[in-house]
Symmetry: C2
Subunit: 202 residues, 2 copies
């Protein structure tokens, strides 16, 4: 299994470098569980979902604490056939046979109920892609049903689903969508946009 | 067929609203061929690929002309089974049976050779997702081969492929990747990030 994300932070200020540098400390608790590589477009995080999603959450919450309008954009992936297995990505969430989809939804609700609250209110939208399966839409519809009852659902949009609320349950919902739908060894990706402090009306 | 994108523009300046408003005129030549809806996270563009990609290109080139570090992020989609058919999306590129993959690559090279040059140098990275096909990786590997010989290939990264060069051929390559690989009525998406004026070394 190989899993991780290409992430980018966009603080809408001329001091974007300073804002990003100030926020990077939020990744420190996760650094020994992730491989991290940065270029001028994005930062690669390689590691298991239970590290990856909290790391993205804490990085974004630290950036949003600046009060500046900021966005985290991420291409999140697991099980891509073109990527090599990597021991750092081993995850108990992606082991063994799949339970029936209703059981997986219940586990997803439990993960949200147990998520820490951060005090940071965010807006997010994401698209879940399940590859290599004739019935990939069944898994996506299952995920949509879970998200609609997750407590952080905002609304459906063309091509994506919009979430809102405290960053804790929002990122827990994203992690559950990523891990609990689609085959455990399958190729599943999320295209994610997270926004805070926007001056634009919803 | 339903096709389009959720796009967002991120100018890294406190005057991000002003920069975006100044650039929006670049969409004017395309407005009667697109349906456009905006909220605080993204702008929806619904229309055929041959309108969508030039519209994104011209919008981004106009934004980059500010000289400010800016990013365009887009979730681009065609053929999603959850979306209704829409006459505005009808495209000659997505009609009829598929030619052999080598012929499609040749058509893609011709599209790049015929692309207008904009004078704006950009960096881009994208992930192509082909859903609902057991052999989706064959189409992706075919697309990767095309991109590597496209003249705008920069390098492969985990989860995505990096392009660079004039915005004209770069967006032509993206449009070809989106249209010429995967089944014509299939569900195909691109997760795209385009960047200009970054102060960070590559």
């Amino acid at each position: 299994m190989f899993s991780g994300a290409q992430i980018s932070l966009y603080p809408m200020t001329g001091d974007f470098v300073g804002v990003i540098m100030s926020a990077l400390g939020a990744l420190d608790p996760y650094r020994d569980q992730l491989r991290i590589e940065t270029d001028d477009i994005s930062t690669l995080l390689v590691g298991p979902p239970e590290v990856l999603f909290p790391a993205m959450r804490d990085l974004f919450v630290a950036t949003a604490a600046s009060g500046i309008h900021c966005v985290l954009s991420a291409a999140i992936s697991r099980g891509c056939p073109g990527e090599p297995d990597d021991a750092i990505c081993a995850s108990p969430q992606l082991n063994g046979p799949r339970e029936p989809i209703e059981q997986r939804k219940d586990a997803a609700f439990a993960a949200i109920a147990g998520a820490p609250h951060t005090g940071s209110t965010i807006a997010a939208q994401f698209s879940l892609y399940v590859m290599g399966e004739g019935d990939h839409m069944d898994e996506i519809y299952g995920c949509i049903d879970f998200v609609k009852r997750s407590g952080v659902f905002d609304r459906s949009k063309n091509f994506c689903t919009r979430l809102g609320g405290d960053a804790g349950p929002v990122f827990a919902a994203l992690e559950a969508a990523f891990c609990k739908f689609g085959p455990p060894e399958g190729h599943v990706t999320i295209d994610l946009t997270v926004s805070a402090n926007s001056p634009t009306p919803r």
